[in-house]
């Protein structure tokens, strides 16, 4: 049995569609109910839906053999997992954003609000820039508008929210997309099944 952790929401739906085409369907997934696990015993696959930021935890700790996680989560939490494929979906950019006319005054500490403190710290440390990190859990765009921070480090998809609030992406830190990840131990003991799954998914992506 292959256990797959999928992120709840749009990305999870897209990822499931790829896995379904790759030969891992599970009709129960399409039923409208509140179930949390879905199994197709004939093919030997079990899916479960979890918060996108928790997928890597399920995989790293072996509750799932494989999972679909955003590169942002992998960079932020650095789980000890294999990163097998770039699924080229859920594409966006990790950016520094701030007021359109923002100019960085290097004579003072830069205040940075973010949901991704490790990514922000690594980025600014590589730029030798002293920063004050402000860890927020949501509505990051509000921080520079009300003077909580100078800039933000956040995911930018279309940039629409930024523009509507008079903000703009200032620098791109790294492009983000969904990745197929695997538990290291599972990849030894379910080697054939997981290598086949990787190859099948890659085949669908390239078709």
């Amino acid at each position: 049995m292959i256990n797959v952790a999928l992120p709840k929401g749009r990305l999870g739906d897209k990822a499931y569609a790829v896995l379904e085409r790759a030969g891992y369907p599970c009709p129960a997934m399409k039923e409208d109910n509140r179930k949390l696990t879905f199994e197709n015993p004939e093919i030997g696959v079990r899916y479960f839906l979890v918060r996108p930021s928790d997928v890597a935890v399920y995989v790293e700790r072996g509750a799932a053999d494989i999972g679909i996680a955003g590169k942002d989560i992998l960079l932020e939490y650095r789980p000890d997992v294999y990163e097998l494929l770039d699924l080229r979906m859920g594409k966006c950019r990790m950016c520094v954003a701030g007021p359109k006319d923002f100019r960085d005054d290097r004579s003072s500490t830069l205040r940075v609000a973010t949901k991704f403190p490790n990514i922000a710290r690594t980025y600014y440390s590589a730029c030798s820039r002293e920063i004050e990190l402000i860890h927020l859990n949501g509505s990051i765009e509000l921080a520079p508008l009300v003077g909580l921070s100078d800039v933000i480090v956040d995911i930018v998809e279309t940039g629409k929210t930024l523009i509507e609030n008079g903000l703009a992406p200032l620098e791109e830190i790294v492009p983000i997309s969904a990745r197929l990840i695997a538990n290291k131990s599972s990849y030894k003991f379910k080697a054939d099944a997981l290598r086949t799954l990787r190859a099948n998914v890659e085949g669908v992506l390239n078709s």
Binding site: G62, D80, V81, Y82, E83, L84, S185, Y187, A191
Partner: protein, 364 residues
């Protein structure tokens, strides 16, 4: 019924195994000078160290690692050192938020590390895993292969570390992108990709690398791996895979490197390899190899949870003669069963059999 916990039971078996091959027991004190760990921070699996001030104001640490203590106390110029240990270490396991006391067993060999020495240590690593479960995998690699391939290009240490991290993550798409960004020659890039794509049983995977046109340093490593394969066959040891995702910090390790996994345990339970560079960084001459087995996760293995706390519960009342209680208890222990003897009444433990020797409460 064995009342030892799984980690205690296995640590005893591992100590016996290592001593059978002449790895003398080695005890280190629970505390070590904090400075030792700060100077070799990246050798540790976690950078966090529990520190405290000693009576004389000296900063001390609860040891997070044994290897550094062994190396520190090794005298130069003596014969080969072969030591083994089973000790408690204190560190923050990956992905966790607090310190844990972890039982760790392992061995170190310091001296001239030839093919025989490598083979013996590798065999003991595989047998250590087999003591935990027959469903094990020992992934091995030789750092001279990636190092030899990377030496063909003019790369900085930081770029090499980035490429090694991608190999370790089996991240083929990331490796391809970085090779393109760094303008690495197609031939070198293809060789690096093979380090990600080819893994599996040593006997089947080794010929793939032997057939490649690799630099001399890599070919030396392949010769050693071939010799090790032969030795493992002689020892009758299986379950060994060639897998370059075990590559580790090249500042400390060189040559053979390995990691062990058990089916049912989500992360590696054994890690080891050649660490000549650690020796030279600590101002010692010579070569060294060793490994550690982390026993903190083995309780997770299925079947480790006991169905019962004791085999037999014996209860007695206020008027039960003491010698009758002792006779009943001795009868059970003599038969190899564990007993819990207590006054009649409620028992909050699980038992297979109950013997009541009187008491009002039993009659209710």
């Amino acid at each position: 019924m064995s009342r030892l916990k799984a980690d205690e039971r296995i640590s005893i078996r591992l100590r016996e195994l290592y001593q059978r091959y002449g790895y003398l027991p080695y005890r280190v004190s629970r505390f070590e000078e904090y400075d030792l760990y700060m100077r070799n921070k990246s050798f540790l699996t976690s950078e966090h160290v529990l520190a405290f001030s000693d009576m004389d104001g000296k900063l001390m640490a609860l040891k997070p690692d044994i290897t550094l203590s062994v190396v520190k106390n090794t005298k130069a110029g003596g014969g080969p050192v072969k030591v083994s240990y089973a000790e408690t270490v204190y560190r923050v396991p990956r992905g966790e938020l607090g310190f844990k006391e972890i039982m760790q067993a392992g061995l170190e060999m310091i001296g001239e590390v030839d093919v025989y020495a490598m083979g013996e240590v590798l065999m003991l690593a595989a047998r250590s895993l087999a003591e935990i479960s027959p469903r094990y995998a020992l992934d091995i690699a030789d750092l001279r292969l990636p190092a030899g391939i990377l030496a063909q290009e003019a790369l900085t240490d930081a770029q090499k570390a980035q490429l090694m991290a991608l190999i370790s993550d089996k991240n083929l798409h990331g490796l391809r992108a970085l090779c393109a960004e760094l303008a690495i020659a197609d031939k070198t890039a293809a060789q690096l990709e093979t380090l990600v794509t080819e893994f599996g049983p040593l006997g089947e995977t080794l010929p793939v690398f032997e057939a490649m046109n690799l630099p001399q340093a890599c070919r030396d490593a392949l010769c050693d791996l071939r010799a090790l394969l032969g030795m493992m066959e002689l020892y009758g040891v299986g379950g060994i895979n060639l897998d370059f995702s075990v590559v580790n910090d090249m500042n400390y390790y060189n040559g053979l490197i390995f990691a062990g996994f058990i089916d049912g345990i989500p992360s590696g339970v054994l890690s080891g390899g050649r660490y000549d560079y650690l020796l030279s960084r600590m101002g010692k001459k010579g070569q060294a190899i060793g490994f550690a087995v982390y026993l903190d996760q083995i309780d997770r293995l299925l079947g480790e949870k006991a169905e019962c706390d004791v085999d037999v519960l014996i209860t007695y009342g206020a008027d039960t003669p003491t010698d009758a209680v002792i006779t009943a208890a001795r009868k059970q222990t003599a038969a190899g069963r564990s007993v819990r003897v207590q006054r009649a009444g409620k028992a909050d433990i699980r038992y297979r059999e109950r013997i009541d020797l009187g008491g009002e409460e039993n009659r209710v």
